[in-house]
């Protein structure tokens, strides 16, 4: 009775769920293979053996791996995601809930900047192929790719924070709206670079198709061909990049949060990693895995809506 679209959605969600589960299980195993001892990281090397045993027991690190895995699945199932090793009274879920909004805010602004810059620029470059405009756009795209986030961040701080004193420095109150500007630009420009190239390439690809020439031959105006025939078809590969960019966006957030000393998922993840706070690292990994597969499912459905050639199966 279920419509093909609904069946497809169910199938994709199931597969996506399995992927997320596989990622998390993989990480569970990998993290436990770390030679560093979380107990050492927490108590320091000088802790007495009795303390170590006590802490190990309290954190259930003395249990066998399958038992730990079962406990972990239980924590996922009840939604707490376990408790932080560093603060046993705090559930990982509450830590993530605290760190999530700043990262989402930052990522959203970065995306807005990226799309606003990249799509017009890519389309313009394709339209004016071979001219100076094209070269400028291509150069921008490439410098954006080459200017590493890890360098662009400090450069922006140096220019707008130190020289011009327009915007706050890293470490200043991160909740002020002005503190969001530089990190968002840092991530946004890196994303815009790839997106500009992709938009330009996709437009050129479509413009070289016979049906474009045919439309021109039938007397359709250049502008109309460009926007109605070409742009629509070119958006499909650009959409694909949207999913690939989610990774870049989250990686960018980790880096930007470090450079600009902002709270967020990246900071939580890195801190958790260096302190060997296993539940925190697992929790962030799980969250990122779920976000990623959810976006991919949504993207596949968008595909089917945008492109009539794509059949749901």
């Amino acid at each position: 009775m279920a419509s093909p679209a609904l069946r497809y959605l169910l199938y994709r969600s199931l597969r996506a769920g399995l992927t997320a589960f596989a990622v998390v299980s993989l990480v569970f195993v990998l993290i436990r293979a770390v030679p560093g001892d979380p107990v050492d990281a927490m108590l320091g090397e000088q802790a007495s053996p009795e303390d170590r045993v006590a802490v190990r027991k309290a954190l259930h690190l003395d249990e066998a791996l399958p038992a730990q895995y079962a406990r972990f699945l239980g924590d996922v199932a009840d939604g707490t995601l376990g408790r932080s090793f560093r603060a046993p009274d705090t559930s990982v879920r509450s830590l993530i809930e605290e760190a999530f909004p700043p990262t989402v805010e930052l990522s959203a602004w970065a995306l807005v900047i990226a799309w606003l810059v990249a799509i017009p620029l890519g389309v313009l470059a394709a339209a004016k192929r071979g001219t100076h405009i094209d070269r400028v756009a291509s150069f921008f795209a490439l410098s954006g790719l080459a200017l590493p986030t890890i360098w662009l961040g400090p450069l922006l701080v140096l220019l707008f924070g130190v020289k011009l004193r327009w915007l706050p420095l890293p470490g200043d109150d991160p909740s002020a709206p002005a503190a969001l500007v530089l990190p968002a630009i840092t991530i946004g420009l890196a994303l815009a670079a790839g997106l500009t190239r992709q938009t330009r390439a996709a437009m050129l690809e479509v413009l070289a198709q016979p049906y474009i020439a045919a439309a021109r031959a039938r007397g359709v105006t250049r502008t109309r061909v460009f926007f109605q025939h070409a742009l629509r078809n070119a958006m499909l590969p650009v959409l694909t990049l949207g999913a690939a960019q989610l990774g870049a966006l989250l990686s960018g957030a980790v880096i930007a949060e470090k450079i600009f000393e902002r709270p967020g998922l990246g900071t939580l993840f890195l801190e958790g990693f260096f302190a060997r706070d296993i539940p925190v690292v697992q929790g962030v990994v799980l969250l990122v895995g779920i976000i990623y597969v959810a976006v991919n499912v949504a993207l596949d459905l968008t595909y089917a809506l945008v492109d009539p050639r794509v059949r749901l199966s």
Partner: protein, 270 residues
């Protein structure tokens, strides 16, 4: 080839490889020589790019960093290209269960932001060595080549010359080696050229986050060091970041040049 030699980006790449291979013999100072009295100095006659933390000569640190970046990127690209190319081509050719599992593995590895995946992988060792970093970057790196090779094979498989070869009775192996793989070289080469830049960037990022190869001079680690003293001694961050940016940009541009040199449809249309 002519086109390659006429592009400045190719020269940047060559210069980088040259510095990486012979540079360490040309700089007299060791990147590990500590001189606490001269930490974070501006460029001078003794240190023509200035000094970094502990009075290390920045110029020689950058040259040794170039060598590390070259070693890591060459190894990672070679491993990923071979592994990804073969797996992807086989997946596209055979289809079925092999294709499903290779693609599922790709999905799994790509289900993760590259930086986070590498952090998770590197967390397996307490103090990562160069080999660990190469391994970790290759584990995530082959996916791109595999996807590309598979996609190319899928489209080549249906092309007239392949269908014709099959109709003439060519075996699967012959089709794969004589008809498909030669046609894969172009796209994979373009991907590999850009890939160099990608690997250098990722290595720098990991080192910047404090997860790079321990006990090695890395551009990313220098940049991290420079960023922490950005307000007082900006030259360290400026110069190490500039080195990363130039080389990554060079390889990215060179990728485009290679693409245009290989694709007759694009030739001469720029």
């Amino acid at each position: 080839m002519k086109k390659l030699l006429r592009s400045p980006s190719a020269w940047v790449c060559l210069l980088f490889l040259l510095i990486a291979s012979v540079g360490p013999w040309l700089v007299s100072k060791s990147p590990e020589a500590i001189d606490l009295a001269h930490a974070f100095e501006l460029p001078s006659r003794a240190h023509w790019l200035g000094t970094a933390d502990n009075g290390v000569d920045l110029a020689s640190a950058l040259v040794h960093g170039a060598r590390l970046a070259a070693i890591i990127s060459l190894s990672v690209v070679t491993v990923s290209l071979t592994l990804g190319g073969v797996l992807g081509a086989l997946a596209g050719m055979r289809g079925g269960r092999l294709e499903t599992s290779v693609m599922a593995l790709c999905d799994l590895l790509q289900a993760f932001p590259a930086v986070l995946l590498n952090i998770a992988l590197l967390s397996v060792v307490a103090r990562p060595s160069v080999e660990h970093v190469v391994l970790s970057l290759s584990v995530s790196g082959w996916v791109l080549y595999a996807r590309l090779a598979r996609a190319e094979v899928l489209s080549l498989r249906e092309r007239e010359f392949v269908v014709a070869a099959r109709a003439l009775g060519a075996t699967e192996t012959r089709v794969l080696f004589r008809h498909l793989i030669p046609n894969l070289f172009g796209p994979l080469l373009v991907q590999a050229t850009t890939g160099f830049g990608g690997v250098i960037l990722m290595e720098a990022t990991l080192s910047f986050l404090g997860l790079g190869p321990a006990r090695a001079v890395s551009w990313g680690a220098l940049l991290d060091q420079g960023s922490s003293v950005l307000l007082r001694f900006p030259h360290v961050a400026l110069m190490s970041g500039f080195a990363i940016a130039c080389v990554v940009l060079g390889f990215n541009l060179a990728g485009d040049v290679v693409r245009e040199a290989l694709d007759p449809r694009l030739r001469g249309r720029r």
